[in-house]
Amino acid sequence: MTPRRAELPLGGDATRRFIPLIVGAMVYLAALALAGTFALDGTVQQWSDSLRGALTVQLPGVAQDPEGEEAKARIDAAVGLLLETTGVLSASALPYAQSQALLEPWLGAGDLPADLPIPIIVDVSVDTGARINYEDLGQRLEEVVPGARINDNGVFLSRLVTLARAVQLVGLVVVFIVAVAAVSIVVFATRAGMTSHRDTIELLHLIGARDNYIARRFVTHALSYGLAGGLLGLALAVVTLAALALAARGVDQTLLPRLSLDLTAWVALLCVPIASALIAMITARVTVLRALRRLP
C-alpha cells in the first residue's frame, strides 16, 4: 500500500525553503518595530508626566534678604505674568531652602555665605498640548523682572516628546508596511502555486472536486509557512531584544527609553506570529476561492 499522497504538492522546493524565510524576516521586522514603539511609549509617558513640572523660571536672587519684600515682589510679578499666559496651568516659587539645595552639587553642602544671591526658582506647570511661544514669554518676563530667565529644559523635553511620537508613528508605519508586504508575499506565493498547478486544479475541478476541497490544501500550506516563519521571526526578535536590553543595562535613566518591555508589549509580540499565520491562511483562502470562482 502506497501512502496517500497529496493531489496538490504545494510544499515544492521554492515555497518550502524561501517563503518561511521571507515571512520570518517580516515578522522579525514587525516585532522589532512593535517593541520599539512599546518601549518608547513608556518613556514618552514618563516625559509627558515630568513635563508638567519641568518648566522653570529663574529670577535673580536678593543677596542679603532672600525672603524679604523685594524677593516677594519679583516672585509676584513673574507668577502673575505666567498665570496670565494661556497654556500655563500653575506657577509658584520654590521655598528658599529648596533653591539653596539645588546649588549643593556645585557648592557642596554647608552654610553658604549670606551675601550670595541665591536665585529664585519658579516652578511652572504647563499644558503639554498648548504651543507656548517661549521667546515671547521670556521677553515679557524680562520686562517685569529684569534678569529673569526661562529654563528651557521643558521646551526641550516637549520637543523631545513630539519627536518620540513621530518615531512611534514611523514604528507603526513600519509594522503596517511589513504587514502589507507579508500579505503581498502570501498572495504572490498562493498565485504562483496556483499557476504552477493550474492543470492539476483544473483537472480536480473537472472531475468534481469542490472549491473547498481544492482550497484546503493551499490554506493548510499557508498556515504552516505562516506559523513557521512567524516563530522563526519571533525567536530572532527575542534574541535581538535581549541583546539590546543587555547593552542598555545601566542606561535606564532620565532621558532614554526604558528598554525593558512590560507584559502588554510581550503579549503583543507573541501575537505577531499568530497574526502572521492567520494572515497567511486567510489571504490564501481568499486568493484561491476568488480564482476558482472563475472556473465554470
Binding site: R5, L203, L206, G208, D211, P296
Partner: protein, 242 residues
Amino acid sequence: MVRFENVGKRYGHGPEVLRDLTFRLTPGSFHFLTGPSGAGKTTLLKLMYLAQRPSRGEIEMFGQDIGKTRRRDLPPFRRRIGVVFQDFRLLDHLTALENVALPLRIAGARRERIEAHVSELLAWVGLAGQINARPPTLSDGEKQRVAIARAVIGRPNLLLADEPTGNIDLAQGLRILHLFEELNKIGTTVVIATHDRSLISTFGRPELRLGNGELTVHKAPSVIVDEDPGGDAADADDGRSA
C-alpha cells in the same frame, strides 16, 4: 440522460462554433462523434462535461437543466461523468495508480477498496508493470491508457472520450473500445469523438456528425434528433438521475 435544445456556442466574440444543436441521448446509448478538425467535437464534449456553458439554448443533464443549476451544485454531476481528455491531463506528481484513483478519492471512497480495484483496471489496459510509474516516465500511448482507466474507474453514467485512440495502435484501440462496450452494457452512455474511420466501421455504432456547426445523425437507433423542440423529453431521462 443528455438533452440539448437549440444550443449555440461561441467563444468570446468569435463566430458560433456550434449552432442550434437539438438532440437527445437516451441512457445506455453508444455514439461516435465525428467531423473535420475544428468542427467543434471537443467543444460539444466540453458542454457535456460542464467545462463550458452554452452561449444560448438549454442543456439538460441527468434530468436537470444545467443553465438553472447553481455553480456549487455542479460537482455531483461532474462525478457522474467520466472523461478521456484529448490531452490526457494526468497529474505528473502522482503515480499511475494514484491518477486513476483520483475520482474515487474525490468522491470519498475508502482506500482499501480503491487499491485493488485500480490495480485490476490498470492491468486490464496493459499497464500492470507501470502501476507506480509517474506520467512523465510513460510513453504517450501509456498515458492515454491511464487517462482511459481514470475515466472509467468510477463507473460513470456518462462516458465521454475525445480521440481516445489517437496515440495507440489499432489492436490496443480495439481493446479499449471493447472496454467501453462492456461499460455500455451495464448502462453507461458513451460518446466517443474520433477521426479513425476503421474504428467506426468495426463497431458499427451510430455516428453524430458535426459540420458547419450543425449536427447530423447517421444510422442512429438510440439518438433522437429533435426537429420539434417542444417534444416530450421525459423518456430520455436517466432513472438514476440525482
